[in-house]
Symmetry: C2
């Protein structure tokens, strides 16, 4: 943590009680002038800090931003999120992360923004990423694995985000294969996983995560109001986005490690427990055909198994799934 | 073809017979001054062209280069090699191709050079790419396939290069799984296949190809003279590199199309017919362990099947293979 982050962390922990400037200066072994400069910097980021005579500084309110400092306050990971690049606005965190990964960005690097001008989902579809209301981030990971193990990271990510949301809100989203998280049948999260690899090993996987957090229903475009939702709409209250980011990174690290070390089996069990696809009749729109049948499970390669009406079982690597 | 390429093509087809400048000008509907300018440009590239009074121009000799113009003369493909970027020297065609692919280089784009300063093979190993003696190129392809079909392109490429060399030299290289071509047990070709994909589809595959063509044994570093060879060493004569490039692109296009349209089965049969691995006892060095057994075949996913001494059959996605 930087000194600024340490000061913020102390103010947050104090929960409205004053902390003396001298105490902060002593603990960090820096001058009171430096403490004052860091507090000014925090105020410029939107923190409201009150100086109470002879008592010290009180944190009155925090801006609802997902800055490096705020996320770091909540971070409990060993590696993910230890390098956070925060952009107030950008075109697409996925584009920036791809560029950074090519130039050597370390394992666990996070690109996060308040607003994307060109957010994208699967199959080059646009993704609405309105300002200061959602989580729009991309995580660069560099697991030492063979490329055939990469596609499963979409499912690992889906489980991690579901678990994080469950812990933060008591709502349990459902996973629609392969990468949509739904609440009451409406989409609130999308995952876009991209891969750079040679035939021997993965160079980088970039996990793009979009979560609708604090939007009101009216903030969605009319055309998607019947199919989209946010955590605020479903829970009735605002969610601390920075804390949710830290929680997602925590479970993403945890489940990625389990997957790399123990294989897909434990993740598959979790995934199936959250899935709204398995056991259901679905229509799968593939690149070149459309299939209907019962989704009977996923394989250890993350492939959806579809039992067609003629009894044939087909493995689906990529498709749009509609519950019928 | 550009006008310069058309003129070169005519000179090559004439095989030492003179072609009149007026005839060239008429056929191309350009002035004789323009014809003369294109001939000068060709001379600057190393072509020796003689002007015979009242008869026309004779091509005396061609430089041994793999320029766009020379390759295009031999090209018989529908798409591959229709955009060739030629660099007299570069660091690595694979690096340039990766950059070009990210910026939208079209399907079939070829990056080719006379000499690489930082050629690389599998697992970041160095690859000796001496000047004007080999084929050092990278091909960008954009097949509309799901990423699980990508790893097989290493095997598709191995078959294509083997077939091209067989046709050009009457020597039949053997393929050592996954990506080495050998003659008399010595390596003369390496293939490095890299992938950019999301979980639904391949964005680009970059096939890096290094072929030792016209090196003498002494031109190899002493440390690899016992394990490396070139087509010249094996055949006793120089090979036309530009013609071989065109032949490789021809078979790469042919076999890629077969693979995408018909699946891996027909390619697998070809691959197995050229393989020196199948049926042999091998030692496989993996990322985390070493296995010994009989290589009994490859699956439709391109995975090597190894029967261990205890009878267990293991699928090998990535390894170094040594015949024992």
């Amino acid at each position: 943590m930087t000194n600024k982050e340490k000061i913020l962390s102390q103010l947050l922990v104090a929960k409205g009680e004053p902390i003396s400037g001298q105490k902060l200066a002593d603990e960090l072994s820096i001058s009171r002038t430096m403490i004052w400069k860091h507090l000014k910097a925090l105020e410029e980021e939107g923190y409201v800090i009150e100086a109470v005579k002879k008592k010290g500084y009180i944190l009155i309110s925090t801006p609802d931003i997902v800055s490096k400092e705020r996320i770091t306050t909540y971070l409990q990971t060993l590696q993910l999120g230890h390098n956070i690049l925060y952009y107030p606005v950008c075109d697409s965190t996925q584009n920036i992360a791809t560029e950074k990964a090519r130039n050597g960005a370390s394992h666990g690097t996070v690109i996060i923004t308040e607003q994307q001008s060109a957010g994208r989902g699967r199959l080059e579809r646009a993704w609405d990423s309105s300002a200061n209301k959602g989580i729009w981030m991309s995580v660069v990971i560099r697991p030492e694995i063979s490329p055939h193990m990469a596609p499963q990271f979409t499912l690992v990510s889906a489980v991690a985000i579901t678990k994080a949301i469950e812990e933060m809100t008591d709502i349990v989203p459902e996973i629609k294969w392969p990468n949509d998280l739904l609440i009451n049948g409406k989409k609130m999260t999308g995952i876009l996983t991209e891969l750079q690899a040679d035939m021997d090993r993965v160079q980088s996987i970039i996990i793009g995560i979009g979560v609708n957090v604090n939007q009101e229903l009216e903030s969605f475009d009319q055309s998607i109001q019947s199919i989209a939702t946010s955590l605020k709409i479903e829970t009735g209250h605002e969610i601390n986005r920075a804390a949710l980011v830290a929680k997602i990174l925590f479970y993403l690290e945890k489940y990625s490690t389990i997957y790399v070390e123990k294989g897909f089996e434990p993740i598959k069990l979790l995934w199936e427990s959250y899935s709204c696809t398995i056991g259901k009749r679905v229509r799968a729109t593939l690149l070149r055909e459309t299939l209907e049948g019962i989704a009977i499970g996923i394989t250890n390669d993350g492939v959806l198994q579809l039992r067609l009406d003629n009894g044939e079982i087909r493995g689906i690597y990529s498709a749009d799934i509609h519950l019928t």
